[in-house]
Symmetry: C2
Subunit: 410 residues, 2 copies
């Protein structure tokens, strides 16, 4: 079944905010049996919006919109759908109770502007949004459906899982697309390609390779009439790939490096501490984004100066002899923070995020150390240096993957 | 002058890679006098591609495409343009010399499938791409232009600055779009809407409101024949909004809270240190994303445990009496890290990111302390708690804004 996505918002169209919703939705629709043909971004411009919406509504059984459900004049999704379907907006009492309830729970009165969020048309019903004040819409006429979803990614994700997926599963049947992603590290794309040659390519299931900041991913894509049949298609190829890549696999599907690290730490009952220089807290931030991380993460030190490194337990002679940006100092940082914070495992990162070089080291130079009761190890890296944020991100991912390796060995 | 952007690639449409090119281009076109009306994403699907392309080519003086210029079968931008313009592809000798030259300079022979990158149609000329093997196209017929640009963001950026911008500046005159963004904090979107009612809406200049993690933004968009005229349109509305919102404004245009904090610190010659609990390094990460932050940022401590808070200089009695999640402890953290790291200003954050409550405090409870030579201050918050990452982000933004306030007062 074909579908299109329409994202609205002048700030998206002007490039002031990156639209991530279309991509987010597009990656989830195939598994529900919906094939995306087109994704369009329009501004807060009624003429453009209704033109794109009308075309998609007429051509496709399903159209998904994101954004434009807020309380302001710029929010025009409800108005656009009403116009395309040729119906009048009215304030719905149930919707109004819902929106008012949200403000009540925050202990504030509903501003009069928000009244429009309680509106409906005869062909639409509200979709409950537990994360914000904007209910979604399920509008259906002549067998064609428009699902209007909120723009804030967090609200979109919430309403999607809780409300939309169950309804779609009921409605769309007979063509399910399932994927399995296997994430490898330490191998080049060409090598992965070679090793997986026997299963790669456009067969059923399809297997492709994708280069990502956290390594080379292999994706199995299976199409079938039911979820169970798709799973049966995936299973043998999944096993085959696990057999081929074994120790190079660090995760599957949506798992992030920090989630995997958390799982490994929890399973082994070990605790972690970090000392970061060039990544400036990004590693700690990633680790603490995982719910429950307080059970294994003790804390960290961001040693942006040499004084703080020394105060935290790194030997001054080491910095003098090898420079602050060195594998020796990375290992010493890992060991020092492990001891200082009473953790089982320590990670140290030192390097040059850029744009300036540091003590003769070009931007992108990064050393990562891991320390545990059995000793220390480290790795040296030279990441592409055109972007400070990207150097930090690569360093953080690499540090987490090195931590996995160490945990597997401990 | 109106324009549209078309990005092609099945991996983009499936959400496997986020299309960032459309957003990148969209943010650059208005200043060149081109107003983006629509941005469309299509797969490697000739029917969809030519339909979208033909519509835009007929309606708009300019159409920009990204992607589909590579050497493989999936790369169909050249074919799509040829079809829409009703012309035949041929191998151009100059283009061929260019593409061959790139392989020569790498010391390898040109693979035969790269031959198609040397093709042209009568209405198109090549645009030199110094970063890759795919030349762009400038196709022009009946006064309508299609500019075909490569998909890899680095190649796009290179060809854009070196080749496309100079040509566009010559061609597009007399229609400049300028924007001014005014960023407020502490007010709801509905309230901002109400306060700015007199200037909001689709007049000239246009004024809109946008809810962001760092508060509500007001954007003024002015169109005029010249940059100077656009500035004259913006100025009085800018003044009016500054007058209406005064103390609620924390920044303008692209400036981030961390950049603003950096500017204030640099201007005053003061240094900064941070101690974070619930934000787990995200504050330090934001601060160190700013190039040159090492001149004012001394470092930080991520005190995920009470022991580490106490070891770092927070009085144990304080934690016992008020709890770790309290304004007293936030202030003590700020003061302790300021002293411990020898900085002029300290920031402390303690709270509950969630999803579990902590010591009876519900998720979203956050206290932020700022300490300087003149004393300490703090603020208490209850952020929406449905997302751990969002609680952290709100806390970080709020801490940076509190830091601005303190810096303004110091």
């Amino acid at each position: 079944m074909y579908t299109e996505i329409i994202a609205s918002g002048t700030e998206l169209l002007m490039g002031e905010i990156q639209d991530t919703n279309s991509s987010w939705l597009a990656s989830r629709l195939p598994a529900l049996g919906l094939e995306v043909r087109r994704a369009t971004l329009v501004g807060d411009d009624m003429e453009q919006y209704t033109e794109v919406l009308e075309r998609s509504w007429k051509l496709n059984p399903f159209t998904f919109t994101t954004g434009g459900l807020g309380p302001t004049r710029d929010d025009m999704t409800r108005e656009a759908i009403a116009q395309v379907l040729g119906e009048e907006l009215y304030i719905d009492n149930n919707q109004l109770a819902d929106v008012k309830g949200i403000f009540d729970s925050r202990g504030v009165e509903m501003p009069s502007h928000n009244l429009k969020q309680a509106s409906l048309i005869p062909s639409a019903s509200g979709i409950r949004n537990r994360m914000g004040t904007a209910p979604g819409w399920w509008a259906e006429k002549d067998g064609h459906v428009i699902v209007a979803l909120p723009g804030p990614p967090r609200e979109l994700a919430g309403i999607w899982e809780q409300e939309v997926v169950p309804r779609l599963k009921e409605r769309v049947k007979g063509n399910v697309v399932l994927t399995r992603t296997i994430k490898t590290i330490g191998l080049s794309e060409a090598l992965v390609d070679e090793m997986a040659a026997a299963v790669l390519g456009p067969k059923e299931p399809y297997v492709g390779t994708y280069a990502r900041p956290d390594g080379i991913h292999l994706r199995i894509i299976a199409r079938a009439a039911t979820r169970a049949e798709a799973q049966i298609l995936i299973a043998p190829v999944d096993l085959q790939l696990r057999d081929i890549f074994q120790g190079s696999i660090w995760g599957v599907d949506d798992e992030t490096p920090q989630e995997r690290a958390g799982t490994l730490l929890r399973e082994s009952g070990l605790t972690l501490a970090t000392m970061e220089s060039c990544t400036g807290g990004m590693l700690a931030d990633a680790i603490t984004n995982v719910p429950g991380s307080s059970t294994y993460y003790r804390g960290g030190i961001i040693s942006y100066t040499n004084e703080l490194k020394i105060e935290s337990g790194v030997a001054a002679e080491l910095i003098e002899k090898h420079g602050a940006v060195s594998s020796q100092v990375a290992e010493a940082m890992a060991e020092a923070v492990r001891q200082r914070l009473g953790a089982d495992v320590g990670v140290g990162i030192t390097g040059v995020a850029g744009p300036e070089e540091l003590e003769g080291n070009p931007p992108g130079t990064v050393y990562i150390g891991v320390a545990h009761s059995g000793g220390q190890e480290s790795s040296a890296h030279r990441f592409p240096a055109n972007d400070r944020g990207l150097v930090k991100r690569r360093a953080v991912t690499t540090a987490l993957l090195l931590l996995h390796k160490t945990m597997d060995a401990v």
